[in-house]
Amino acid sequence: MSETASRIAEHVALPAWALIAYLASGVLFILALRGLSSPATSRTGNRYGMVGMGIAVVTTLVTQAPIPSGHWWPRPTPEDLVVLFKILAALGLGAVVGVTIARRIQMTAMPQLVAAFHSLVGLAAVLVGLAAYLDPASFGILLPDGAINPVSRVEMGLGIAIGAITFSGSVIAFAKLNGNMSGAPILLPGRHVINLGTLLAILGLVAWFTQDQSAWVIVAITVLSFIIGFLLIIPIGGADMPVVVSMLNSYSGWAAAAMGFTLHNTAMIITGALVGSSGAILSYIMCKAMNRSFLSVIAGGFGAEAAAGDGAAREQRPWKRGSAEDAAFLLKEAEQVIIIPGYGMAVAQAQHVLREMADQLKAAGVRVKYAIHPVAGRMPGHMNVLLAEANVPYDEVFELEDINGEFAQTDVAFIIGANDVVNPAAKTDKSSPIYGMPVFDVEKAKTIMFIKRSMGGVGYAGVDNDVFYMDQTMMLLADAKKMVEDIVKALQH
């Protein structure tokens, strides 16, 4: 008992320099996010983040490393060296795996990667929570009477619950985004009741945990939270994945914050709050861009009914088909062209040849701009990354509200791989599932070029698009990459 008591004292009284170091790393993380306010400062910001993480890791290693008798530094015992070796091996293994993945990953696969990374943070939080339960003395949360501090039990229980939900939810999000699992929503009967019941049960167990610290409580919290994570994400359709990924981003932050409360660690609390708010704001932005309420996204099922109901009711209307040569001719004559890329462009891997086309047009004196809808990719800002990868300068890329007024002075609106984000039904048709979603005013442009594989398919939301049938619309029916390649060839003549 006396040894335990002395260890608590050590943890409560971290040296002042360590407290300052954790605070510094928290501040560096704030600066890392601050740097992202512009691409010019973002790289420095990322370096601040790395330094902050380095400080947090080194401080912890120095202050928390095994203390058998007095201090491990400068004379560590062989046992200490074994522990240190294991820790460095674990860090090294993670570093090799992490850097390898980061180097190889395709930019189109970024949403899956982020989901996979979230699942790791979630699982790590669960493991840390369980370790704190098993070894409360090391975490400094053991009371002199041998019980775990009740406040810490709540923090630990919540940390484990949020971590487990983050883990299993992210695994499902990964499987849906990576195509291991159909993007279609899976709707269980009575799911709202089951989900609410499970959530309430978890909260009840966390409350009970303050009274009874036996192992079954924490095991039950863990298991139920893993289950609710699966249940919450399976009914959410592929179109809503940007919201889900942002939401899980937020959860991973709250999990880290809960563990920070357990450890009384400033760096973890600041980081948790930053990441938690970041994910929440991104979810909000994505919901607003789709005119959906957060609750309706979480409730799930979007896309299931619309896809079934459409198709039969669609009437045949006349439309005009254009060739690559026609398109090239009109593009070359234009003064301003606005390109509206969607995820279909990325699927067709057309971004590089699209940039070639833009280069040729610019050489011919045409002003070329790119217009990005917030939901253009599979995660917030995804399309910007894909264009940046294709060497499109970021000052030619504009957000929806910044460019929407320019279509009236635009000769060609060039739509490639997008559909719902240019659908005027969102502005006029109250019965449309996408009604109220902010869309590009492409119909104000003199000419609309719409690259599409065939006239059959519809967008993610499963609705027909009036733009196909407008007088000034030229449908370019082909694979996006092939069509742009043909336009590039035609421009050379």
């Binding site: 954790y22 993380f29 996010l33 992202l36 691409p39 790289r43 910001g45 990322n46 993480m53 912890t60 928390q64 095994p66 522990v83 294991k86 860090l91 993670g94 795996v97 992490g98 850097v99 993945i101 980061a102 970024m110 990374f117 979230h118 790791l120 790590a124 493991l127 840390v128 370790a131 704190a132 098993l134 070894d135 090391s138 975490f139 990924v245 942002s246 981003n249 932050g253 999990a255 880290a256 563990m259 009384h264 660690n265 400033t266 760096a267 600041i270 980081t271 948790g272 930053l274 990441v275 708010s277 970041s278 991104l282 932005i285 917030p374 990719g377 995660m379 800002g381 940046a388 890329v397």
Partner: protein, 101 residues
């Protein structure tokens, strides 16, 4: 530190987060997610505490597993963010010199 001081730090940090994140340009929202993911791996601090406990206990092995996962995230997250940020370039201007990138 008592609970109230910790809670104060947390609440204030939420406000800082709110304002800092709204000032992030939408073009960098994907790197934002990647970097927040990397920094949320600061949970490695807890994992290190668990794994640094002496002796062969279950909790130290759980801690080591958590260190490995967090480390994948830290290195992977910062590396992939750096890779993305390196791609964001300005328009190449024809001006011969004096134009900073």
């Amino acid at each position: 530190m008592d609970f109230i001081s910790i809670l104060s730090i947390f609440i204030l940090a939420c406000f800082v987060g709110y304002y800092v994140v709204w000032s992030v340009t939408p073009a960098l929202h994907t790197p934002l997610m990647a970097v927040t993911n990397a920094i949320s791996s600061v949970i490695v601090v807890g994992a290190l505490v668990a794994s640094a406990a002496k002796g062969e206990s279950l909790s130290s092995w759980l801690g080591l597993a958590a260190v490995t996962m967090a480390s994948v995230n830290i290195f992977g997250g910062f590396a992939v963010t750096a890779r993305m940020l390196a791609m964001y370039k300005k328009k190449d201007r024809p001006a011969p010199k004096g134009d900073a990138k």
